[in-house]
Subunit: 427 residues, 2 copies
């Protein structure tokens, strides 16, 4: 960003045009001076009356004016709401942290209610000493903290065949990014007598939840001993019910379905179980009818969240902030480019901070817009050198039968009046 822009000089035109006041009229006593805007010149009720006392909100919710910023589901997407998705309102968020209250949820048999006192975690199978942990037991092991994104493998899945869902919340909202506190799975496996010195190359853990679906998944031992967490807290407080209270698995960078909620059992095995959730589901059917399996890692991906269909440009011409988010299951985001012309030319966006390991990165393009049509795209790159592909590139490799792991470049068509819609561009 040029220094001139950083200091706002290039922006002065629109602001002095819109709202500058004659210097003579603006003093410390401006509230009484004559002026064009009663919100400045007249004493408002909120400046003369009293507001709410601190006893009003032991635990607060967003203000009523933000009541549209909520999770939403898509009725036709699943047969029943107990096996469905509630999408994060990413079009209305900024920054990187996702509040638990509006972070996407996906259940296979509904969100269950499980007290800490009733919680048990069993570790069994190929270990010296099968163990059962209470919630209090888990609290006595050394804890870690990390911010990680969690993305459902099906995020953007409806978009394989074409532009289906009109809004970033629905095309890309199966993702959240939270600060987790928990115990390393490595520590708990060692407690049960898994020798980390032994030959663990072909070993697996099978993890399942306490809900009726059990949502069992197989995880290779190398990952289980790497960075997997048995987590109790997200964003500083206990996990919410819909996020697996009191304990969930955190499998950094890997598909959300493996982040088993209401975690109840971890079995060490010689082979994967090949459960429903990793054969019939969460595999990608290719053009020839065969399936890609063990596609655990979420590849680098990004999306422009504003402007987008649910977040049109409402202000006039001149300065415009384009923003979005990028992430990679392989590590850190190193660069994000933005295109206004459907991928013909690219500008490098500004990252709000240096990319962090397997966590969301916020990007901004501080630009000018004078009513020209745009075909807005973003393209993420990660520390492995990987570049987010176009939809055409993905289709070339995988055909049109896939649902999961669609990390292609998204296009929003922005019209002269600032509205945006979900489109495809040929490239």
């Amino acid at each position: 960003m040029a220094d001139e822009q950083k200091h706002g000089a290039s922006r002065r035109q629109f602001l002095t045009g819109a709202a500058a006041l004659g210097a003579g009229a603006v003093t410390a006593g401006a509230a009484k001076a004559a002026g064009p805007d009663p919100l400045i010149t007249e004493v408002q009720e909120w400046a003369s009356g009293l507001g709410d006392g601190v006893d009003a909100t032991p635990y607060g919710l967003p203000i009523q004016y933000e009541s549209d910023v909520v999770r939403r589901n898509v009725e036709w997407l699943t047969a029943d709401t107990i096996s469905s998705i509630n999408f994060t309102p990413i079009h209305a968020l900024d920054g990187t942290i996702t509040p638990q209250g509006c972070a996407f949820e996906r259940h296979h048999s509904g969100a269950i209610e499980l007290k800490k006192e009733d919680y048990r975690l069993m570790i069994n199978g190929l270990v010296d000493t099968p163990l059962v942990f209470t919630y209090d037991d888990l609290q006595r092991f050394p804890r870690e903290q990390h911010v990680y994104f969690c993305e459902c493998a099906a995020n953007t899945g409806m978009e394989w065949a074409g532009a289906q869902l009109n809004g970033a919340q629905f095309t890309h909202g199966m993702i959240h990014n939270m600060e987790y506190t928990g115990v390393s799975l490595r520590t708990l496996l060692a407690e049960a007598g898994l020798s980390v010195a032994g030959d663990l190359k072909d070993k697996w853990v099978y993890v399942e939840g306490a809900d009726a679906s059990s949502n069992g998944r197989s995880i290779p031992m190398e990952k289980a001993l790497d960075d997997v967490l048995v987590a109790f807290y997200a964003n500083g407080e206990a996990l919410r019910k819909e996020h697996g209270y009191p304990v969930r698995l955190v499998v950094p960078g890997w598909e959300g379905n493996m982040w088993v909620k209401w975690l109840r059992r971890i079995e060490v095995m010689n082979a994967p179980v090949e459960s429903r959730e990793e054969t019939s589901k969460y595999t990608d059917t290719l053009e020839d009818g065969t399936s890609r399996k063990w596609t655990w890692v979420m590849d680098a991906k990004s999306v422009v969240t504003s402007p987008s269909p649910q977040a049109p440009i409402k202000h006039g011409h001149g300065p415009l902030v384009i923003t979005g988010m990028a992430w990679s299951g392989h590590g850190k985001i190193t660069r994000v480019d933005v295109s206004k012309d459907g991928g013909k030319t690219w500008e490098t966006a500004r990252l709000a901070k240096a990319g962090e390991n397997k966590a969301l990165t916020r990007f901004y393009l501080d630009t000018e817009w004078n009513g020209e049509e745009m075909f807005l795209q973003s393209r993420a790159m990660d520390e492995t050198g990987y570049v987010q592909p176009t939809k055409a590139q993905l289709r070339e490799v995988r055909g049109l039968n896939s649902i999961y792991h669609n990390n292609c470049i998204q296009t929003w068509y922005v019209t002269a009046d600032g509205k945006a819609e979900n489109v495809e561009v040929s490239s």
Copy 2:
């Protein structure tokens, strides 16, 4: 931490004693095997029925079992709840992020409700072009993101004279730590034509809120041009009403009273205003009756949050995790020590991650406890080399008349049955 402890080997004794099952009885079919714990051996209702559908919670709240983890006020502390404090339940949190819903609030005339459409921010005084910004105007400037702690100058203030309040929530809960998104104040001042090249050494900004109290404060220009943010978002979403919706000031590392909520005006001046909030209040009366003024920075400080009076030790002897948080308005926390004997001997705690600039750092001491009485303390150090003082050291310099800026070492007396209480030790 020793490798042995990291891998949990030292913990096996308490777990195998409490909950190990005979290896023969524990298989993938354990739910049907005979065993001592029906929560393991019998199918529970939550494992056979259905949970809530995704339509249940457009915006979620904590689960009912966590209903004690809320902000609380102290009735006798202030004359009325519209000018009072709601304390963060820090004893029940972990990690570093404070959810907005339970982050401490302090108002001087109540939390007001102000729509984005009604929002105006005026910059006036010694600038080329006095300006009025709407909320939409602010959204068009380049945005930044940072995690910062916000601590009220009065945090721990009641403890000057002795151990008064029995709980970390009340002694140290006037603090929160959030990820803020906003525009640099530097950018907005430049927009109004403040020449950053000119001699700004003696200039000030006076900032005030739109609530009846206005809560006006003077900030020296050097700070105003450094890292002050005009913020709209916290932890990814719009500021909550009680945190200044739609716009508040963020003054990193400086006392919370300067983080003006419902920000309405910034005036560039040749001198500080010396308002009520920086003369009669938010100054420290010394032994001789004179006052310390311009004590803006919050010095390095820490507190053990668990165990603490509201978070006693409930489990048996053996492994114990001692945890707490540390922060410094001067920059990064570099080290935290923990004492179990009231400051006679110290152990260096483990920081969950490297200290971040003017943000909370979580620390842990993974230790053993066998019922011995403890006088638990923590002592923070920051990158300037500053060491958190004892209460005796603070009193020696400032006497007993102060309220604000008490950053002394806190002591919890832990009894043989795991209860904790707020005490003073002579040192």
